[in-house]
Symmetry: C2
Subunit: 736 residues, 2 copies
């Protein structure tokens, strides 16, 4: 039985080894001439400066939080001070995931530019291989970390002969939740900080460079251009790496928590199968992501890059889906019961397939709402014809409309996966959806590498055809970025639901009844959190962009000869502004996400906290979809003008009035789609994980809330409200 | 006992008599010269044309819905075909409320202009008296209708000797809910249709008139100017009248439903007191609103109009609060129990006071976020300095931020009023907040009258000082419009919660547990409704505005001499465009609000519908606050430029670049604050009322849902899930 357990970290370690090999291949590629190397050097230096500044702040946070967790771990028997160690490892690995990605991206970018001097096929190979280093690296770290720690905690907390559904195993997994908390906290700061960084630089560079000085994007004369390119790396690469690392871990962990409640003693693995299944599926997904990555290649200049990526993506998904069937059949017992719901191993498999279907549909819907030439983007283009205001109204309207189909798909996914295998089904559906994270992330990371490669080509004033090739890659990258976000928000919603269920179990409550006044108040406050969080993020971008504008204007004014390429702008000053602003501004949103559940949980108890989590999840998913899709649609409406668009029979191009209106929409959409929108999925998961970690402390076994308003005046107390049996025996209140 | 009941409709009838008197006074005032009369005539004619077109469509809807209700009323014993009659009366009275307001507004507008030629005091008197005709008229109709029908249904359905908490009385009030359904349905169509009308005309008139042709607002040469002024009447007056009529009725009704569950047989009114208390409080509020209106006057040109209005508002609130004490003490028994919560009559009074405090705080917060010279508007002004995009980012950020304080206040209000008197307390808090609706509406209706008066002054090219006086009134009207919206959304939230509780009681379920997968799916779908509803509203405004732009451009092009005042524009064509567009576009959002609860309720059962309602309420309140406040803040940021603003030490005025950016924000904000934003509060109430009306049909006593996904695989069924005792004996699950 133990042998099976060791397979998991082994797969992770092998993936890391593979990553190391491909990474060396990328580094060995030609990095171009001295000018290109210099520019790439600036970007790498700026990116590292940001990471260092960020880590300095975060290390203080990690130490404080770890101390608190260690202390808290001693106060209740369901936890342990060891959780602090798990937390630190999670935090460090999450930061490492971001670092790996950023390190390779800042090397792959210039090498992609150089490769683009030869052929599109070569450029794709370099940039996508750069992406796979990140994708496989992140997934490998996650599986190694989770699988390894699980073995350690299993040995540490579960004496031989204990039943798996007993309190010892529950405690082991509760301690493992610290790993996820560490990973997700760092992810939030990285995503928000990186998002503010990249958009402050982007918006600032555009407002002065493009609009005022009339120089193109990525022009070497723009003092903010290096900061802008650094931003692609710290936001879209490092931020996203930490983000997906966190999501991946959270999804697996949530399923493990629920799996522990299932009596699977009839399996051949000592009853461990429902717990280790999600890790196994992740391992399979990782293996087949590596295999799938071999299919991503083109041979001719005219081959479709999108098709090559789809080939890799689909092959990895299909292989994983097939392999998952055998994993489920081999691992799980024939019949199981989870919280009163009875299901078979095949039901679990159907849930996994549901997750894959939901993920695919979400990506397709997102693509529809943000792709060029489709009705939503065309409507925004048309509304650009009557000015800035109607462009904005059009984009907001498209963004709001775009919530409908994803929510229906999500509701279908929740109900269907629950139908098959209860809450464990919902959770394993999320795990199935996230299984090929390695491939998803490889494709996602390829985008900013291509974007940077184009920037370096422009800054180095390389021939038109080079820029053409990088633009081709970049355009595909924009689409994959949008669909990646749809996928991320869907998985976050299912994961949050699973974490929510895990929280309910650990806290020992039997229902979260919104018909109770205080729970409903919690729901309202929870719903509000994504609004204030988004407000803080986009306001931060606005403020930092204004600082950037002021600095760029100052350099143009005070440094003579910039415009004639005679003097070099002070790139590092702009880099410093973005760095400082993003570090400063990430603190408030991060604090909200971490502190609100703690305050509400300890003051009002677990049921009100449950209401809060439901509010955060629903509102966060909606705001995430709304903002990401509105931003994506605005972006592509603007891009459509580059090739020319027709409005009411008249043809418009760049620099026309409708194009200017579309630039306004794109600028508004920037913080929507790259700062606040994608942070939503981390926000909802992080608040759920914080709740799960504090659940033993605020659970009905150990704690009485400071305020329990709605309970005070009740005269009737049905016997069924106090439950102190272990969580796995809880029974979901059945319907009529 | 019966005598007491008759007091209620009597108060309503007396208020209507009073309204008739003041209306005659207004009509008797001088309507100015022939030119002014002609312009006012256009406006009145256009407004009436809209109402007629709207009524034509709505009468079809009312007949169909009434037939359906009559049929459905025969199918279950808890309802009755009589509900169709209640529905029709509610619909007709709601339409009448809108008509009364619009009729007087289109007369008071030109008379205010004429009065402004004499003095500010006179102009305020005419415009505010016009407002009171609407305020007192609407409240009078509501109380007469509700109080009268209650007596009829009481006699019809409750045989002598029945207990008040029994099924007969329950049925009488369930039938009365039809009245509220009729009122609120018409309110939704009126608000949405009127909102689309007014903003299509406003945006269209501005885009061509102000921006392209460079003529001022309300210039007689602009073909869309009459449509714009008609819009003030059909949207801000008729729409708002129907809206507040519906809210007022819904709030009182919800409290009556819950009151019926309270055993008050120890009172001196045959146990009716908890049911009739909300109507009594409304009656007191109406009387003291009339008294308070006498305090609204100024004597000198330099007197503050805002202070005069505040004087009226505060005096009516304070008098009502004092009188409510005696009403509670005289009517209610000393002790009551509602759904397991025990409370005294004083507890009920404290709940009423809680409602008044919440309403006041909400108004103050709204004012802060939308007032000139305060931090939020100043931040938008500053962000206008760097262009259109940063202005939009600033406004969106302010709007999202502005949800925080209101939600905290609301959560406080829910928990506190519940603490005092359970769900009956929450409901009576809403009733207390709405008691002075007559005064609130008088103040609200004064705004568009003053706005129209200014328009007529401008179109008639009257002297500067006349326009100065109407501008003074108009500016105050903008502030009262914003605070009125804060108040409306707060009362809607509490009312929805009360309706929600009423629904739970009638449907016979004991909990709405978001921990059930299908309920959570309902919560997600509910949360999405306000997004698609808003999207439809703002997209409709965008489309209709583009039609308007095309028509205005055509007239400028094809009718020679317009610009030289030699030819008259074809005003009626623009009026027709707005009318047609608004009637066409109001159907889809209205259908969503009416059909979704029916579909979900019958397919998935009452608990999932409960989850849906919670989602709609939370998301609707958030979107309502966000949109209304963002729109208000953008509006006042733009207005600030008229007097000149300072950005980073530099002074900017009208026509400067930052001012143009602020106009963009204002235009985006228009549909936010006058179409989709204020519709949110009707949406959430209407969906709750629809659910309440169908509750007997989908309740666990009479119906098995078509799909009950999460129930199918449960193996354990605790005994406590099936409850068939009357609703008043339900016991709220007590907390730990």
């Amino acid at each position: 039985m133990i042998n099976v357990l060791y397979i998991i970290p082994l797969v992770g370690a092998l993936a890391l080894l593979y990553t190391f090999g491909t990474s060396r291949w990328v580094v060995k590629q030609d990095a171009g001439d001295d000018n290109m190397k210099e520019l790439a050097g600036y970007i790498a230096k700026g990116a590292m400066a940001f990471l260092k500044a960020e880590w300095r702040i975060l290390s203080i946070f990690v130490v404080l939080a770890a101390a608190l967790l260690a202390w808290a771990g001693t106060t209740v028997p369901d936890s342990s001070p060891v959780i602090a160690i798990a937390f630190c490892i999670g935090a460090v690995l999450s930061a490492t995931a971001g670092y790996i990605g950023m390190n390779i991206a800042t090397k792959a970018n210039v090498r992609t530019t150089q490769a683009a001097r030869t052929s599109l096929a070569k450029a794709l190979k370099v940039s996508f291989t750069g992406g796979t280093v990140m994708g496989m690296g992140v997934a490998g770290l996650a599986i190694l970390g989770l699988g390894g720690l699980f073995i350690v905690f299993y040995q540490l907390f579960v004496p031989a002969g204990s039943v798996i559904t007993g309190p010892e195993m529950k405690r082991a997994i509760e301690v493992l939740a610290g790993f996820s908390l560490g990973a997700e906290s760092i992810a939030l700061f990285a995503r928000v900080g990186g998002g503010i960084y990249t958009k402050a630089a982007d918006v600032g560079a555009d407002l002065v460079g493009k609009v005022e000085a009339g120089i193109p994007e990525d022009d070497v004369r723009n003092p903010a251009t290096i900061a802008d390119n650094v931003g692609d790396n710290v936001g879209d690469v490092a931020g996203m790496g930490a983000d997906l690392f966190g999501s991946y871990v959270a999804t697996i962990l949530a399923t493990m928590v629920l799996g522990q409640e299932i009596d699977a003693s009839k399996d051949n693995f000592g009853g461990l199968s429902p717990i280790i299944l999600p890790m196994f599926i992740a391992g399979l997904g990782l293996i087949f992501s590596i295999v799938g990555s071999w299919f991503v290649k083109i041979t001719k200049e005219t081959d479709s890059v999108q098709k090559a990526l789809n080939m890799g993506n689909w092959s990895s998904i299909i292989m994983t889906a097939i392999a998952a069937y055998f994993a489920v059949k081999i691992l799980l017992p024939a019949d199981m019961i989870h919280r009163g719901v009875q299901f078979t191993s095949m039901d679990v498999y159907y849930s996994i397939i549901t997750g894959l279907v939901v993920g695919t549909l979400m990506s397709m819907i997102t693509e529809y709402y943000t792709a060029m030439g489709k009705r939503p983007v065309l409507s925004i283009i048309k509304q650009s014809g009557t000015g800035h205001a109607t462009n904005i109204i059009g984009g907001l309207s498209v963004g709001m409309e775009s919530t409908v189909a994803p929510i229906l798909v999500l509701a279908f996914g929740i109900v269907t996966s629950y139908y098959f295998a209860g809450l464990y089904g919902v959770s394993i559906a999320a795990a199935g959806m996230m299984a090929t994270t390695a491939m998803q992330l490889s494709i996602d990371a390829f985008g900013p590498i291509a974007d940077n490669a184009g920037g370096i080509a422009e800054m180095s004033r390389l021939p038109e055809e080079v820029r053409g090739r990088t633009d081709n890659l970049d355009a595909v990258g924009n689409t994959t970025a949008a669909t990646g976000k749809g996928f991320a928000i869907a998985s976050a919603a299912l994961t949050s639901l699973a974490l929510f269920a895990a929280f309910v179990g650990v806290a020992g409550i039997t229902s979260i009844d919104i018909y109770h006044a205080d729970v409903l108040a919690g729901l309202f406050i929870g719903g509000m959190i994504p609004f204030i969080f988004s407000s803080l993020c986009i306001a931060a971008v606005g403020r930092a962009a204004m600082d950037m504008v002021t600095e760029v204007r100052r350099q143009f004014r005070e440094i003579p000869g910039i415009m004639e390429y005679k003097a070099k702008p002070e790139y590092e000053k702009c880099v410093a502004i973005s760095t400082k602003a993003s570090i400063r501004e990430m603190i408030a949103p991060g604090a909200i996400a971490l502190l609100v559940p703690v305050i509400v949980g300890f003051t009002f108890g677990p049921e009100v906290l449950g209401g809060l989590l439901a509010g955060v999840t629903v509102s966060g998913v909606l705001m995430g979809i709304f903002q990401s899709n509105a931003g994506g649609a605005w972006d592509n409406a603007k891009k459509s003008f580059e090739k020319g668009v027709e409005i009411n029979g008249e043809k418009f191009f760049k620099k026309s009035e409708p194009h200017k209106a579309s630039v306004t929409g794109d600028t508004v959409g920037d913080p929507f789609k790259d700062t606040s929108g994608p942070s939503m999925n981390i926000l909802i998961k992080l608040m759920s994980i914080v709740s799960l970690v504090i659940a033993p402390h605020i659970g009905i076994k150990n704690y009485k809330p400071l305020l329990n308003v709605s309970g005070q005046k009740h005269i009737a107390t049905p016997a069924s409200t106090q439950i102190t049996t272990p969580a796995n025996t809880f029974v979901l209140t059945a319907k009529k």
